[in-house]
């Protein structure tokens, strides 16, 4: 359902402009519309002077700084109360105190993290090289120089070995090892007095030196490895200590920063909203929308502060302004989670139908019919209720609520189909009330049931579409939807004859009704309807057949459950059998949560909604303080 809206006009003296904006923000019920959107309002748009633009820029910079610090501190403060007074100088001095501390801590943490990522590579290299290091490497007059070379350029290694051998008159020992799939390491044990000349030579070659971080380079490679491993053990503690300090800082500052952020956003919004205002020489004009009945309450609240300095009046909604009316959805608590799913598709138009209630009615039934298992329903219900206690708000919470409602229907259909972990119900004496889906004799009944549900769903959509078309006095839409509906009735009559629900005498009237429907549908399209009318009607039949997915997904679910039980049964060992069956059932439940949701959504988005639903509306977003919206 949609809340009816009223268009209002507020006129006041320019001297009261900023006070009015602050009051409107505090009251928080007016969706402010751009003055340019109303062609019958002849005032000019309010001129924004340079000082306001400069102030907006200052505020946005300060907000960016605050939000940056908040994101570094992590965590979230959902509900903050408006402070009594905030001085912007306090915000700036607070940031001057906090920012250096955060910068120092994050820099330290990043350096430690980089070290933590690089040290294992050094350790792996040293561990590979150390066992092959000859005893001579530990002599006083010897030095060790390490190189890392790509294994695709091994010829460079030979050249370097030849040149170093010449430089040291053959006094160098070489040790080579593959470090990983792409790198080969070369250790050169050289006389210490030759080191400068070799360093000079290597400087001219384009090779990577095996250089360890200075703080852990302790002379010999063994000592270096020990120091490196000690450092690796030390790093997590150091990082945890920094995290602890960040948590402490967060505890001290987060709420304050959030309040400041809200305060500055409010200030920014109060300037930004002025671009929607209009002006005359001495007055300002605001146009907007409030929920019906809200105008009097708004008048009272504004007049309490400004007395009779403002003129607030209701304006009639014309054909031109109808398209501007924002949409405020107002549904019972059980239907509200489905609003998110409707909004994913598009926002309902102000003059159209809000399909949320219909979706809340049909979607869980489709879901339950597909999953249709007592045990799966109970497990899914338990899981969703448990997750609902942990997920605060947003679309995910809404989806979980939808799943919970769907699970209840799944339990109900589980009783109708006699399913508990698929075919396991039968073993404990559970009998289907309706029929057994897994039984080959009943597959046709299942398909007919889903088609019948689809027929009802589609007919309801077309009927609603027809009512909408009649309200809009759109002749072509009346004929299009009416034709489809009449044609479908003809098909239903013919099918009823084929399945022997009606006597054969109804076949001819059925065909006549079908042809009449197609003719009406074709006529709505003009000349092109001769061809397109039949194709369009085939689209409706395709929509109807699409409901067979309820049977298909349901059958897939029940047969996977049967496979789980059969595999568990043939395992020969009760524990192994239980584990195998549990794994398959877990997979089936995971699929059962995902697939029926998507398929039910699709049936609504693709088959049901296009018959009557016109999205493209705009959400009612009142101009209000951040403190109002989070309190």
């Amino acid at each position: 359902m949609k809340r009816p809206m009223t268009c209002i006009e507020i006129i006041g003296l320019k001297s009261h402009l900023h006070q009015t904006v602050a009051l409107l923000q505090q009251v928080g019920c007016v969706h402010i519309e751009s003055i340019n959107a109303f062609s019958d309002v002849t005032v000019r748009p309010l001129a924004i002077d340079a000082s306001i633009l400069r102030r907006q820029e200052e505020l946005s910079l300060l907000i960016a700084e605050l939000e940056g610090e908040l994101s570094l501190l992590g965590g979230a403060t959902q509900h903050v109360l408006p402070p009594s007074a905030i001085d912007e100088r306090d915000i700036r001095s607070g940031l001057a105190t906090l920012s250096p501390q955060i910068v120092a801590l994050t820099t330290q943490r990043e350096a430690l993290k980089a070290e933590q990522e690089s040290l294992p590579r050094y350790e792996a290299t040293l561990l590979k090289l150390l066992p092959s290091l000859p005893q001579t490497a530990y002599q006083e007059e010897k030095s060790v120089i390490g190189l890392l070379i790509s294994r695709s350029h091994l010829e460079a290694l030979e050249v370097i070995q030849q040149e170093v051998t010449q430089l040291t008159d053959g006094g160098t020992e070489f040790v080579e090892r593959n470090v990983d799939d792409t790198t080969r390491a070369l250790l050169m044990i050289v006389p210490t007095d030759c080191t400068p000349r070799i360093e000079l030579l290597l400087g001219k070659k384009d090779v990577t030196r095996l250089r360890l971080p200075q703080q852990i380079e302790k002379g010999s490679l063994d000592a270096t490895l020990t120091a490196l491993q000690a450092r690796m053990r030390e790093l997590p503690q150091k990082m945890a200590a920094i995290d602890q300090q960040m948590v402490h800082l967060g505890g001290l500052w987060r709420e304050r920063l959030t309040i400041w952020c809200h305060y500055l956003h409010d200030q920014f919004d109060a300037y930004a909203v002025l671009t929607n205002f209009g002006e005359t020489e001495h007055t300002f004009v605001v146009m907007g929308w409030v929920p019906r009945g809200g105008c009097e309450a708004l008048k009272t609240q504004l007049q309490q502060v400004l007395g009779n300095q403002l003129v607030i009046s209701e304006k009639p909604i014309t054909a031109e302004t109808q398209a501007l009316v924002p949409v405020a959805l107002h549904n019972p608590a059980i239907v509200q989670p489905f609003e998110s799913l409707v909004k994913i598709q598009s926002i309902p138009r102000s003059d159209g139908i809000d399909p949320t209630t219909l979706m809340a009615l049909f979607m869980p039934i489709f879901f339950g019919m597909m999953l249709g298992d007592i045990a799966y329903g109970l497990i899914l219900l338990g899981l969703t209720l448990w997750l609902l206690r942990r997920v605060g708000s947003g679309t995910l919470r809404d989806v979980l609520k939808v799943l919970a409602i769907g699970s209840v229907w799944s339990i109900a259909f589980g009783f109708l189909f006699g399913e508990l972990f698929g075919t396991l119900g039968e073993a404990i004496g559970l009998h289907p009330i309706l029929f057994d889906r897994a039984d080959g004799d009943h597959i046709m009944s299942l398909m007919m049931l889903t088609l019948a549900i689809g027929a009802g769903h589609l007919s309801l959509g077309l009927l609603l579409g027809l009512i909408e078309a009649i309200k809009a006095k759109s002749r072509s839409h009346i004929m299009e939807r009416g034709g489809m509906l009449i044609g479908l009735m003809g098909v239903f009559l013919m099918v009823a004859v084929l399945v022997e629900l009606l006597p054969t005498g109804f076949m001819t009237p059925g065909m006549a009704v079908l042809i009449l429907g197609i003719v009406i549908l074709s006529t709505s399209m003009g000349w092109i309807g001769i061809l397109m009318g039949t194709i369009e009607f085939m689209g409706v039949i395709s929509n109807l057949l699409s409901y067979l997915r309820i049977a298909a997904i349901g059958l897939a679910s029940v047969f996977l459950a049967k496979v789980a039980n059969d595999l568990g049964g043939i395992a020969g060992n009760i524990i192994v059998g239980f584990v195998i069956a549990a794994l398959f059932h877990a997979l089936n439940i995971a699929l059962g949560a995902f697939s029926p949701t998507i398929q039910s959504l699709r049936l609504h988005y693709v088959e049901f909604f296009p018959k009557f639903y016109q999205g493209g509306g705009r959400l009612y977003t009142p101009f209000r303080s951040r403190f109002t919206s989070t309190a």
Partner: protein
């Protein structure tokens, strides 16, 4: 022999339809991933576009069910 051929016929009906759906969805899915990277607010229309080719496999399923049930293979 006849029952086996009926089963193969049903399998071909559902298998080829599944291939068709998969082919269409793979292309739409790749494009959809690109769109959602740029404009996440288009999730609704994207789900709709990805879901459209599924009708092919449902028709395949219906055909297979008809082959099995009406030919006595079920």
């Amino acid at each position: 022999m006849e029952a086996g051929l009926i089963a193969i016929g049903a399998a071909i009906a559902v298998g080829l339809a599944a291939l068709g759906t998969g082919l269409a969805q793979s292309r739409i899915g790749a494009a959809a991933a690109g769109i959602l990277g740029e404009r996440p607010e288009l999730l609704g229309p994207v789900i709709l576009l990805i879901a459209i080719p599924e009708t092919i496999i449902i028709l395949g399923f219906a055909t297979a069910a008809m082959i099995l049930l009406l030919s006595g293979g079920g």
